[in-house]
Assembly symmetry: C2
Homo-oligomer: 460 residues x 2
């Protein structure tokens, strides 16, 4: 193992340089204008896998963006770890809030990252993280330290709901057969308190449309006598959450797993400083479901958020219009045992129910995902915990994240294997926001932890 760690130490600068090349590709899966960049990125990932020593490397076509595959089978009798990651990234807007262009990576020191952090869209989510696995694999190969088999699937549609992945996995169960899945697409609690993510929330994402008059109207001539779809939509959104912060959708909480007082006490040990939390995002006060801590609200409780709203005139100056339509994007984070189909259906029914008679509403589902839990007594969890404890020199705790990686549930169902969410980002990495970044400390700790995980897991 020491050889491997030495090799990593000697190649740090090259690893960063190579990651920079990957970050320069604007692989925005949500926007068709970037189609070619996403395809180029897939080719680049395949090239890296090959160069690192993987066999059978293939850019597998799907109905959407390709999935990059590679493997190293050293002995069919040994366990197999399937590494999953995604090479697509979130849209970077609002662009004007980036200090430098989102696809021109650079390193800058910050208060949390005195060694410097890599700033670029995708640096933490997920290029910087899946690339750690390719580089750790390279280090194990170069130092003859790979203790078991490894397979890679790096997809290009994670940010738009992994539309092609399930079909691909179902059609390739033999090729992808494995004992566990290893994913770095989450964050640790803090540098001082490393964690392994043991729970993820699911997701239901819909777009809603409210149509009033069948054309835009002059607000002077019609104002006061017709339903204004912006007002109607605002009133409907206001109704979705009550004064106690509870979601009003009929039956929304029916299947929510009630977490025991014991477990809640345990998880609240992690509790950070509420003042620091507010300060870090510039808030005077927080809000949320009554009776739960901020940590609980973002992990063991389901939530509902408008992610976008638009309607009417939004340009410069003033236009006195009553628009025909107003729109919103609304997502709900789910916990065990809610399912996206169930919640999307319940939302649709409720939204239609609360719509006044004088408008027409439409609810269009986007992608969804199941919630996920990894028990902390599993071999997978323990291998990750021990690996990170060695790398960080600190005790590692289990942690439930508020985010969603919908495919973990699917992997378990189709491949019969548990996913280990060994992510190395920080909460403050600004993923999905302007100025996304990934600490060099985190990047290298990740590369060091991965061979240790393989060692523990192969032994265990």
């Amino acid at each position: 193992m020491q050889d491997t760690l030495n090799y990593i130490q000697e190649n740090k600068q090259r690893y960063v340089d190579e990651l920079f090349e990957l970050l320069k590709i604007a692989s925005i899966s949500a926007d068709p204008a970037y189609n070619q960049d996403v395809l180029d990125c897939a080719e680049k990932v395949a090239e890296h896998l090959k160069n690192s020593g993987a066999d059978q490397v293939e850019v597998c076509e799907t109905d959407g963006y390709p999935i990059v595959y590679g493997e190293k089978i050293i002995n069919p009798d040994l366990p197999t770890v399937l590494v999953y990651g995604h090479y697509d990234v979130q849209p970077p807007d609002p662009l004007d809030l980036w200090k430098k262009p989102p696809f021109e990576p650079y390193i800058e020191k910050t208060e949390l990252h005195p060694e410097g952090a890599i700033f670029a869209r995708g640096s933490a989510d997920d290029k910087g993280q899946f690339f750690m696995h390719i580089k750790a694999f390279e280090a194990m190969m170069k130092t003859n330290a790979l203790p078991c088999n490894v397979k890679f699937i790096i997809e290009g549609e994670e940010e738009v709901g992994s539309k092609s992945l399930e079909g691909f996995v179902k059609n390739n169960t033999e090729k992808l057969a494995c004992d566990c899945i290893l994913i770095s697409d989450t964050h640790i609690y803090s540098r001082e308190q490393p964690t392994v993510t043991t729970g993820l929330r699911g997701l239901s994402y819909v777009e809603v449309e409210v149509e009033g008059p069948n054309r835009d109207l002059h607000s002077g001539l019609y104002g006061g006598a017709v339903p204004n779809p912006i007002h109607v939509l605002s009133r409907m959104i206001a109704k979705l959450i009550d004064e106690d912060g509870r979601i009003t959708v009929d039956g929304f909480y029916d299947n929510v797993l009630v977490v025991s007082e014991e477990e809640r006490a345990e998880m609240n040990k992690l509790k950070d400083n509420p003042e620091e939390f507010k300060k870090s995002i510039g808030l005077e006060g927080v809000e949320g479901e009554k009776g739960y801590t901020a940590l609980e609200r973002t992990s063991i409780r389901p939530t509902l958020d408008c992610n976008g709203i638009w309607g009417g005139y939004t340009g410069e100056g003033a236009k006195t219009v009553i628009p025909s339509k107003a729109f919103a994007k609304i997502s709900m984070r789910l916990v065990p045992y809610q399912t996206p189909d169930e919640i999307t259906e319940k939302f649709k029914n409720y939204f239609e129910k609360i719509a006044p008679d004088n408008v027409r509403v439409k609810v269009t589902p986007h992608h969804g995902g199941m919630p996920y839990v990894l028990p902390s007594d599993t071999k997978e969890y323990l291998a990750a915990k021990k690996a990170m404890e060695t790398a960080f020199g600190k005790e590692v705790l289990p942690y439930r994240s508020g985010g969603s990686i919908p495919i973990t549930a699917m992997f378990e169902q189709v491949l019969g294997a548990k996913s280990v969410l060994m992510g190395f980002g920080l909460d403050s990495d600004a993923i999905h926001s302007p100025n996304e970044h990934y600490g060099l400390f985190n990047f290298f700790k990740g590369i060091e932890s991965i061979p240790l995980f393989f060692e523990n897991y192969a032994k265990g």
Copy 2:
């Protein structure tokens, strides 16, 4: 007079051709990208005034877009009519809802316009309408029928609040001295029921901003534990109007002129078919302030409308973000004796008052305008009524419009003259909307009515 009407009859086709040239200029004052088009349009208007026989034609510079001036003084002892119009137009978006490009005028027959209507941005508001005055003036000049003095001011900032007009009028009170102001920038009740507009609503227009977290956040990691500015803004908008359709801003109705039951009964004689009203804009049901008819809601009662809303991700696909900020444009239509300064101030105080402590809100005033009333026993009203009765061959009624022409109050204050709102459009012209149009019938009836107005007014 018959000579003048004959001249008009013989030149109809040329009038339409000339108007088409004017409509091809994209004089969008709200959007700086169209700066040169607005300036070009001013030059074109000046050229038309000159060619029609006006003296002292001038493109007068202002701090904003120029005001085009021209006059014909035949005898200083005779009365002077000041014609006002505007050559700027509303932004045409949403562009994809136009059947043909907004600045490529064409004629098409419709159910309401069997003779055809001119489709183009600005056809009714206001190029097609002020151009009637230039052509009627040309006809009177060519047939030696101008019975009194006339002055023209055609401005280029009406759609953005006439920012430079007041200063210009104040600095040129001698040049603009007149006995009445004649404006065609409104509509008649219907082809069968011509009307003169005797009341206009005022306007207060603000932009609001709600800021929650100081940066965009991942809705999975933060959702449920922070104030989402879209939700907060939605709740605040929902609070602005109560269940009876009344505006909740403190003191909003304090200065509202209470219209007598008698006058309300009189105005409701005009009452159209509510089913037709709903059908014309594709609505199943209407809404508004309790206790008032649709006609009253859009004329003698003040209103509040969101004209635009935006925040978060509004592109294609799904993005799981909690935005830092959400925005809305909100306008209020005012009635006598509300004032825009008073109402803007009251709105600002109320909006700040209802904002929860955990967000920061900002209210930025755009332009405003005073409400206006022209009593129906004035010489100005009676000259217009009689002119239109001759041209249409029908009885003409007074009509209060819900729209705003804020400058009428200013003209009265600075020039001491009443404005006559002799507009010829139809409610269904889709001004401020896609597929704006202006009936050929209306265009020609307007050109015929104007010399009749001059005759009546000069005699009166």
